[in-house]
Amino acid sequence: MTAHWWRLAFRNLGRHGRRTLLTGSIVVVGFVATTMTAGFVAQTFIALKEATIKGLGGHLRLFNREAAGKTDDEAAQLLLENWEGVGDVVRKDPRVAMVMPRLSFFGLVVRGEKSAAYLGTGSIPELEKKASLAAETVIAGEFMKNPEADELMLGSGIARALDAQVGDLVTVMTTTADGTLNAVDATIVAILQYPIKELDDRLLIMPYGAAAHLLKAEGKCTSLVLTLKSADETDAAASDLAKGLSEAGIPAAVKTWFESASFYRQVRLLYLTIFSFMGAVLAIVVILAVANTMTMSVFERTREIGVMLALGMERSSVRNLFLLEGLLLGTIGSAIGAVLSLLLRSALNVSGIELPPPPGGTHGTTLYVLFIPGAYVIGFVLMTSTLLVASWWPARRAANLDPVGALTHV
């Protein structure tokens, strides 16, 4: 298509300014909705990913190979032996930044006459503070410090159930690795408000030494959590470490944070499904609006199309002229949409709007829309291709007009 056809298509758009403006506005709104949604969703996924990794304490988790696929009860009995030795092996990989043992256990915590079921974690305070989300969620007291002390931290939900406060003494009861009942008295040093409510209602964290003593599992751990220098290396590191551990004769399996985070995967799938559905609805609205405009345009220009055909214009060229108008409208609408998106994004990011907590969360976040260049490219491709699809049938109708009938059209 040479310059004069583009010029003709452009002028035809200007012929019915108000109608073109209305259709163009739909394209602009479609583009803005696409880029803003993508920016918001991407930011949500990044935040959720970071929170998930922090919640898990690291990027990779090593555990007893035999515990894979077992129930929690069964897995609790299958601990990873000699975590320090395993740690020495994995630390040789330069991608590993930190190695932290964790003991997972459950049972009852009792304060006076009140008791509650808990999900417990035994961890090295200094490392836990660095690696996990827990340190950021302290709402009362101070994060535990002593790796051997009989102290613990509780989620705000379980603390409320026990009517417990910082400084109170509670009894933690559980079943040891060999199946006997054991208990320890520990002092509450901090209350945490964990962002996932279900966990907040059950959360108990205590130093690794105290937990190992309680479980009679000294030197062992349920999982060895590894923090990598870069999250991008997760899959490669997991594969290499699994191979290295196997070669070293250590019966440990490796799981990435993504494999462990079923909640993250579910939320991600839910969001993607919702936004795909919204995107499809948006595309249908744009297609209907543009098809309507183009059909009206073909109807009003029937005689003119007849003249063009009479003068020897190929039917395919008539069709292309209408498609070109659709393409131009999509391009101009996308360009305006891109500028508006950038302005709106800046405005929203400084607005400080607080969003409600995400699924399972206990506190909201400030609205932030990420700038994703790829979303702008996708928005452009989506809008122009939608416009082309919407223009196709009216364009085809124009191309198939009978010139004699078109010339006498009133």
């Binding site: 040479t2 310059a3 004069h4 056809w5 003709l8 002028r11 035809n12 200007g14 012929r15 005689r303 003119e304 003249v307 063009m308 055909l309 009479a310 003068l311 020897g312 214009m313 190929e314 039917r315 060229s317 010139p403 004699v404 010339l407």
Partner: protein, 230 residues
Amino acid sequence: MGLLEARELSRTYRLGNEEVPALSGASLVLAPGELAVLAGPSGSGKTTLLNLLGLLDRPTAGTLLFEGRETAQLSESERARLRRERIGFIFQSHQLIPVLSAEENVAFALWLRKMPEETCRARARRMLELVGLAGLEGRRPDALSGGQRQRVAVARALAGEPALILADEPTASLDSDTATKLLDLFEEVHRLASVTILFSSHDPRIIERAHRQVDLRDGKIISDRRVASS
């Protein structure tokens, strides 16, 4: 060999379940350089025959040869090529493209032939000058008078240097003075370009200037005669 040879052309339209004959057994040979008119009252079949001769429509029966070539076998695309390269059309009301200037409207016929933009523009300007519209190249149709618009249509028809110009009631929407001037222009064009011109009209001013008059009544050619133009 005639430029155009129609043998027993018929065209029937379907109106609901009824078949309405618009043209029956029309035979006609047009030689190069003729200035002829299809005359007759409204509904006599003039426009139907003109549409068939201009390859805008296909006959229900009969044969049409254009420059010796049987047209029934031509594809849509080949017919379109013949229209843009060998035939110029002038319609009852100018039928210009409203968003294009006078110059662009004339150049449009050349754009279809994929000629370079500068060549199109230069030839369009030359054609507009020929029809007396020099200086009005940049005006859009809505800024031109009825007569000027019809002149632009003449320039557009001439731009492709066709072998045949078909003009359907070209003076129908013009006042007497403008119509006379337009007919003077047609005569001038015919004389300068030696192009075959076939009018369809019942306007006596056109009929008296034509060198040949083909009369139609009720879809049939009732007479075909050479006349001495005034």
